[in-house]
C-alpha cells in the first residue's frame, strides 16, 4: 500500500513538473537563447519573484503580461548598473522598458557568457545610444561618461574625452559613431567580453 501511494505521489509530482516545463517552453527558448532548461526555469523564478501577483506561474496559454521598467531595474543584478534603464529599454519591444518574460529571457541571454561578441556588440550599441537615432553622437557619449563617473568630471574634461573618443573610433569622419565604427572599436577591446556580461 505504502509503496503504491509513494509511486502514485511520485508520478503526480513528475506530471506536475512536466506540465510546468511545458508551460514556459524551455526547450523552445533553448533554440532562441544561450540558456539551458535549468537556467530558463531559474529565470522564470526570478521573473515571477519580481511581481508575484502579476506574473502567473502558469504559462500554458501564453499570457500577455509585462513588467514595468521600475520593477526590473530593481533586480540586484541591475541595481548598481549605471546603464540599467537603457539596458531594459533597449530589450523591450516598445522602447519604454516594459518587458515580457520572453524579452526578459532574451536580455539575459544576450548578457550571458555564451553569447558571441557580435551579438553583444549590437546590443551594447543600442544601450549606449541614448537618443535611439542609430548613432552614438556627442550627446550620447556625454551621457555615458557622466553615468560612468557620476558626473565628477568637469565639463571641459567631458568635452575632451568625448572628442578624443570620436576621434579615435570614427572611421568615416562624420563626427559621430555609426554601428560600423562602434563594432570595429569594440571588436578589439580586450575587456569587452569579460565585462559585458551578467551572470544570473
Amino acid at each position: 500500500m505504502v509503496v503504491a501511494t509513494c509511486i502514485l505521489a511520485m508520478s503526480v509530482v513528475r506530471q506536475r513538473l512536466h506540465d510546468f516545463m511545458r508551460m514556459i517552453q524551455p526547450d523552445e527558448k533553448w533554440d532562441c537563447t544561450f540558456f539551458t532548461r535549468k537556467e530558463i526555469l531559474r529565470l522564470h523564478g526570478r521573473y515571477h519573484e519580481l511581481a508575484p501577483h502579476l506574473v502567473p506561474m502558469d504559462y500554458t496559454n501564453d499570457p500577455d503580461c509585462k513588467l514595468p521598467l521600475a520593477l526590473i531595474v530593481n533586480m540586484p543584478e541591475l541595481k548598481e548598473n549605471p546603464f540599467r534603464n537603457r539596458i531594459v529599454e533597449s530589450f523591450s519591444e516598445d522602447g519604454m522598458g516594459n518587458l515580457s518574460f520572453n524579452e526578459f529571457v532574451d536580455m539575459f541571454s544576450v548578457l550571458s557568457e555564451m553569447a558571441p561578441r557580435e551579438l553583444k556588440a549590437i546590443y551594447a550599441f543600442k544601450i549606449y545610444d541614448f537618443n535611439v537615432d542609430n548613432y552614438l553622437c556627442k550627446e550620447d557619449l556625454e551621457k555615458t561618461l557622466n553615468k560612468l563617473t557620476k558626473e565628477e568630471l568637469t565639463p571641459e574634461e567631458v568635452e575632451l574625452v568625448c572628442e578624443k573618443t570620436i576621434e579615435e573610433a570614427d572611421l568615416d569622419g562624420d563626427n559621430k559613431l555609426s554601428y560600423a565604427d562602434f563594432e570595429n572599436m569594440i571588436s578589439r577591446a580586450p575587456d569587452f567580453l569579460s565585462t559585458f556580461h551578467i551572470r544570473i
Binding site: 523552445e28 568615416d172 555609426s178 580586450p190 569579460s194 565585462t195
Partner: protein, 904 residues
C-alpha cells in the same frame, strides 16, 4: 475510396503548382525588366516632379528618401536573413536570380522594388506551402532538401540573431513546422529510408546532446558562490576563483589517473602489507611507527603504504587481471605531465582567440568609455569604488593626453629604480642562500637522527620556505614604492619578482634535494655491499648447521634495506605541500580574519578611525593568490611521480581553500580600490603556469632518465633505468615484429631527421606567423592613414560646401537678371541631379547598411537653409510672368551640386 480524392487533389495541386511556377517565372521576368527600367523611370519621374512640384515638396521627398534609406539600412540584414528563412523550395533557383537583382537594387538608392519583391516572395511562400512533397520531381526534391537544411541551419543560428524574442519564436515555430512537414516526405525508395533514419538519428543525437548539456551545467560546482563574489568584488577577484575551480578540475583528473590506475590496483591486487621487506615497517622504527608526530612527518606506517613510491613491488603483473603495475606506474607519470601540457596549451590558445588583438593603444578613450564598467557588479560599495576608479583612470588619461610626461629629475628616478632592482636581487640571493643553508643543515640533523632535535629543527626547511614566501613579497612591495612606476607596470614588476623568488626557492630546494639523493645513493652502495655480506653469512650459517633444513625464514621487518631515495623525495614534497597549505590558511586567518575582527571591534575605543585609517580591512590579493596556486601546482607536478598521493592531497587542499577563501573574501575583505584588467592578464597567468609546468617537469624527467632506481624499493627496482619498463613490455608482451619496428623507429638515424623536421616545421610556422603579424601591422597603418585622409577630405568638403553655398547665394541674386536661358539651365539641372543620385549611391554601397553620412547630410540640409533666400527673391519678382516660378530656385542646387561631384 479515400485514395481517389486524394489523387485527384494531388493532380489539382500539380496543376496549380505549375500555374504558379509559370506565374512566378513571369513575375520574375517582369521584375527583371522592372528593375532594369527602374532607374530610367525614376529619373524620368524625378524630372517630371521637378517640373511640376514646388521646391519644398522636393526637399521633403528627398528627406523621405534618406529616411527610408536609414530604415532600410538597419533592416536590410534582417530582411535578408528573413528571406533566407522563409524561402520555399520552388523559388529557390529563381530566388537566386532575385537575390542578385535585389543586391543591385539595394546598392542603388531605390529599394521600393525590392520591398515589393520580398513581399511577393512571402505571398508566394504561403501559397506554396500547401504543395504536396510526394508530387515533386527529383530536382525539386533536391531543392526541398536544401530548403529543409537551410531551415535547420536557421534554427541552429537563431540564438545568435539580434531579433526580438517574439520574432525569434515565430520564426522558430514556422521553420520547425516546415522541417517537420517536409522532412519525413523526402527521398524515394532506397534513399528515403536512409534519409528518414538519418533524420531520426540526428534528432535523437540532438536530444541527447541537450540532455547532456543540461547535465553538464548542473554539474559545474560553486556557480552561485562565484556569482555572489563576482557581484561583490567585480570580475577580477572572481577570475581567481574561476581559476581555482579550473585547477580543481585538472587536479580531479590527475587524481583519477593516479588513484584509479596506480593506488587502487596496488592496494587491491598487490601483495598485502607485511609480505615483503619493502612493504613492512623496519624493526627499528616499529615502536614509533604509529605515533602522531611520525605520521605527521609522513614516516612510519604512512611511509610504507601506497602513498609513496617505495611501497610498490616490481612484480611485472599482479592479480588475476595480470595488471602490469610497473608499466602502469610509468605511463601514469608520463600521462599526468602530457595531460597537463595539453590542457594548459589548449586553454591558452582559446584565451588568445578570445582576447584577440587587444594590444594596441589606439582606442584608449573609447575602450575606457565603453568597456570599463563591469556589468557583473551588484554591490553598492563595489560600485562606488568602480565609479571612483573609472573617474581617476579618465583623469589620468586626460593628464597623459594633455601634457607629455613631465620628466623632472629623471636621474633620480633612474637611480632609484636601479637601487630598487639591486635590493630585490639581494633579497632573492639571500633567500636562495638561506634555503640552501637550511637544507644542508637539515641533512646534518638527519644524519644525527631526528629524535635528538626540536620540532623547529626538524621542520626548518619547510617553515623557512613558507616564511620567505610570505614576507619577501611584502618587502618587494615596499621596495617598489621607490620606483615610482605606473601602477600597472608596477604590478607586472611585482609579479615578475615574486615569480623569480618562488622559482629560485623551488630550484634551490631541488638542488639541495639532488645533493641529498647523491648522498643516499652512496649510502645505498655501502648497504648493498653489506647486504650481500649479510646474506652470505646467513647462508653460510644455515649451511654449516644442517644442510637439509629448509632455508630460514626471516621476518621481513628484520631484513636490512637501502635508503630508497625516491620515497624520500616524495616525502619532502608532501611535507612541503602540507606546510605551504598550513601557512596559507594561517595567514588567511591572521592576516585577514583577525585583522578584520580587530579593526571592527577596536574601532569603538581607539583614538583614530581604524576602518578608514592605517590598518583598515585587507584587500583580496588576486595576483599573489594566483601565483601561490600556480606554484603549488608546480610542486604537485614535480612530486607526483614519487608520491602518488600528491594529487589527492591537492584536491583536498583546493576544495578546502575554495570554501575558506570564499568565506574569507565575503566576510573580511573590502573591494579593491584600484581595479586592473582581469581578462588581459588571464593568458599571462596561463603562460606562467606553462613555464612552471615546464620547469617542474624538467627535474622530474632528469631524475627519471639519469638516476638508476633504488635496488630494493619501488616498481622499477632491479632495473638499470626506470624507462626500461617500456623496453621490457615491448619485448615480452608484444609480438616480435613490433619490437623490431620499434627498435628501428627509435634508432638515431630515424629520430634525428624527425627532430630536424620538427624544428624546420616550427621555424616555418613561426616565420609565417611573423609575416602575418607584419601584414596586420601594415593593414592597420593603412587603415589609419585612410581614416585621416577621410577626415581631411570631409573637412575640405565641408569648407568647399560652405564656399559653394555662398557662391550659390550670390548666383541666386544674380539669377534675377539672367532669366532668358531657361532651357539650357534645365538640362544642366538634370545632369546635376543624376550626379547627385550616383553620389549617394556611392556612399550607400561604401557604408553597407549605414545611412549616408556627412556628405549626404550636408546635401540634405541646404534646402532648409536655402529656402528663405529664394522666397524673398520670389516675392520680389512676383509679377514677372515670363518664366516658371521654380526655375530661379533650381539654379541653386546646380551651383551647389556640380562642385560636389569633384569631391569624390
Amino acid at each position: 475510396m479515400q485514395v481517389r480524392p486524394e489523387k485527384r487533389e494531388r493532380g489539382k495541386r500539380r496543376r496549380a503548382k505549375n500555374d504558379q511556377e509559370a506565374k512566378g517565372r513571369e513575375r520574375d521576368e517582369e521584375e527583371q525588366t522592372k528593375i532594369k527600367s527602374a532607374k530610367t523611370t525614376k529619373t524620368r519621374k524625378k524630372e517630371k516632379s521637378r517640373k511640376t512640384e514646388e521646391e519644398e515638396g522636393e526637399g521633403e521627398s528627398e528627406e523621405r528618401n534618406t529616411k527610408r534609406k536609414k530604415k532600410h539600412g538597419s533592416a536590410k540584414k534582417e530582411e535578408k536573413e528573413e528571406d533566407g528563412g522563409k524561402r520555399t523550395v520552388k523559388e529557390k533557383a529563381q530566388d537566386v536570380k532575385k537575390k542578385k537583382h535585389k543586391k543591385v537594387v539595394e546598392t542603388s538608392s531605390e529599394q521600393e522594388t525590392s520591398e515589393e519583391s520580398s513581399e511577393d516572395n512571402e505571398e508566394e511562400d504561403n501559397e506554396e506551402k500547401e504543395v504536396r512533397p510526394e508530387s515533386l520531381s527529383p530536382e525539386e526534391l533536391e531543392k526541398l532538401k536544401e530548403a529543409v537544411d537551410e531551415r535547420k541551419k536557421l534554427i541552429q543560428g537563431l540564438r545568435g540573431k539580434p531579433w526580438p524574442m517574439k520574432k525569434k519564436l515565430v520564426t522558430l515555430r514556422e521553420s520547425q513546422e516546415f522541417v517537420e512537414k517536409y522532412e519525413g516526405a523526402l527521398g524515394k525508395g532506397k534513399g528515403r529510408k536512409l534519409y528518414a533514419y538519418k533524420v531520426m538519428m540526428t534528432k535523437k543525437w540532438m536530444k541527447f546532446q541537450r540532455d547532456f548539456e543540461n547535465f553538464k551545467t548542473a554539474c559545474i560546482p560553486w556557480e552561485m558562490k562565484i556569482k555572489e563574489i563576482e557581484s561583490h568584488f567585480g570580475s577580477s577577484v572572481a577570475s581567481y576563483f574561476i581559476f581555482l575551480r579550473w585547477m580543481y578540475g585538472i587536479n580531479m583528473i590527475l587524481f583519477g589517473l593516479t588513484f584509479g590506475l596506480v593506488m587502487v590496483p596496488e592496494a587491491l591486487m598487490g601483495r598485502p602489507y607485511g609480505s615483503i621487506p619493502r612493504k613492512t615497517v623496519p624493526r627499528a622504527e616499529e615502536a614509533s611507527a604509529m605515533d602522531f608526530a611520525v605520521l605527521w612527518d609522513w614516516g612510519g606506517y604512512a611511509q610504507y603504504s601506497v602513498l609513496f613510491y617505495g611501497y610498490y613491488n616490481s612484480q611485472r603483473a599482479i592479480g588475476w587481471l595480470k595488471f602490469r603495475m610497473p608499466l602502469s606506474y610509468f605511463l601514469v607519470g608520463v600521462g599526468t605531465v602530457a595531460y597537463s601540457y595539453m590542457v594548459v596549451i589548449r586553454t591558452m590558445a582559446r584565451n588568445a582567440n578570445e582576447s584577440g588583438v587587444g594590444d594596441d593603444n589606439s582606442f584608449n578613450f573609447s575602450w575606457k568609455m565603453f568597456t570599463s564598467w563591469d556589468y557583473l557588479i551588484g554591490n553598492p560599495e563595489t560600485a562606488d569604488n568602480k565609479f571612483a576608479s573609472i573617474t581617476t583612470s579618465f583623469k589620468e588619461a586626460i593628464l597623459e593626453e594633455q601634457e607629455s610626461r613631465k620628466d623632472d629629475n629623471i636621474h633620480l628616478t633612474r637611480f632609484l629604480r636601479v637601487l630598487a632592482n639591486f635590493l630585490v636581487l639581494c633579497c632573492l640571493a639571500g633567500s636562495g642562500y638561506l634555503i640552501y643553508f637550511v637544507v644542508r643543515r637539515s641533512q646534518k640533523f638527519a644524519l644525527d637522527g631526528l629524535e635528538n632535535h626540536t620540532w623547529w629543527e626538524r621542520n626548518e626547511v619547510n617553515m623557512v620556505m613558507s616564511l620567505l614566501g610570505m614576507f619577501c613579497p611584502m618587502l618587494f612591495d615596499v621596495i617598489s614604492t621607490l620606483e615610482n612606476y605606473h601602477p600597472r607596470v608596477a604590478l607586472q614588476w611585482q609579479l615578475g619578482r615574486i615569480f623569480a623568488l618562488f622559482l629560485g626557492n623551488l630550484y634551490t630546494f631541488i638542488i639541495a634535494l639532488m645533493d641529498e639523493i647523491n648522498l643516499k645513493r652512496e649510502e645505498e652502495k655501502i648497504i648493498k655491499f653489506n647486504i650481500t655480506m649479510w646474506e652470505a653469512s646467513l647462508y653460510n650459517s644455515t649451511v654449516s648447521e644442517n644442510s637439509t633444513a629448509p632455508p630460514v625464514t626471516i621476518h621481513p621487518a628484520d631484513v636490512p634495506r637501502g635508503p630508497c631515495w625516491e620515497t624520500m623525495v616524495g616525502q619532502e614534497f608532501v611535507r612541503l605541500i602540507i606546510s605551504d597549505t598550513m601557512t596559507t590558511y594561517i595567514t588567511l586567518l591572521i592576516g585577514d580574519f583577525l585583522r578584520a575582527v580587530l579593526v571592527r571591534f577596536l574601532n569603538y575605543c581607539w583614538c583614530w578611525d581604524l576602518e578608514a585609517g592605517f590598518p583598515s580591512y585587507s584587500e583580496f590579493d588576486v595576483s599573489g593568490n594566483v601565483l601561490g596556486l600556480i606554484f603549488n601546482q608546480g610542486m604537485i607536478w614535480m612530486g607526483a611521480f614519487y608520491a602518488p598521493c600528491l594529487p589527492a592531497l591537492n584536491v583536498l587542499r583546493l576544495h578546502v581553500s575554495m570554501y575558506l577563501q570564499c568565506w574569507a573574501v565575503m566576510c573580511c575583505n573590502v573591494p579593491q580600490e584600484r581595479v586592473f584588467k582581469a581578462s588581459g592578464s588571464n593568458n599571462f597567468y596561463m603562460a606562467m603556469l606553462l613555464v612552471i609546468l615546464f620547469l617542474s617537469t624538467l627535474p622530474a624527467i632528469y631524475t627519471i632518465v639519469t638516476i638508476p632506481p633504488s635496488f630494493d624499493c619501488g616498481p622499477f627496482s632491479g632495473k638499470k633505468r626506470m624507462f626500461d619498463v617500456i623496453h621490457e613490455t615491448l619485448e615480452s608482451d608484444f609480438p616480435a615484429w613490433f619490437s623490431k619496428v620499434f627498435s628501428y623507429a627509435s634508432n638515431p638515424g630515424l629520430v634525428l631527421p624527425f627532430i630536424l623536421l620538427m624544428v624546420l616545421a616550427i621555424y616555418y610556422l613561426q616565420s609565417t606567423s611573423k609575416s602575418y603579424k607584419e601584414a596586420n601591422v601594415e593593414l592597420k597603418k593603412k587603415l589609419q592613414t585612410q581614416n585621416e585622409e577621410n577626415k581631411k577630405k570631409n573637412k575640405r568638403a565641408a569648407l568647399k560646401a560652405q564656399m559653394d553655398l555662398e557662391e550659390a547665394r550670390k548666383a541666386a541674386s544674380q539669377a534675377a537678371e539672367q532669366q532668358n536661358n531657361n532651357a539650357s539651365l534645365q538640362e544642366e539641372e538634370t545632369d546635376g541631379e543624376e550626379n547627385h543620385g550616383s553620389n549617394q549611391r556611392l556612399h550607400h554601397s561604401k557604408n553597407g547598411r549605414n545611412p549616408p553620412p556627412a556628405a549626404g547630410e550636408q546635401e540634405c540640409h541646404p534646402p532648409a537653409t536655402r529656402a528663405p533666400v529664394p522666397r524673398t527673391y520670389h516675392h520680389g519678382n512676383h509679377g514677372a510672368p515670363g518664366y516658371l516660378p521654380g526655375f530661379s530656385r533650381q539654379s541653386e542646387p546646380r551651383m551647389y551640386r556640380v562642385p560636389s561631384l569633384q569631391r569624390h
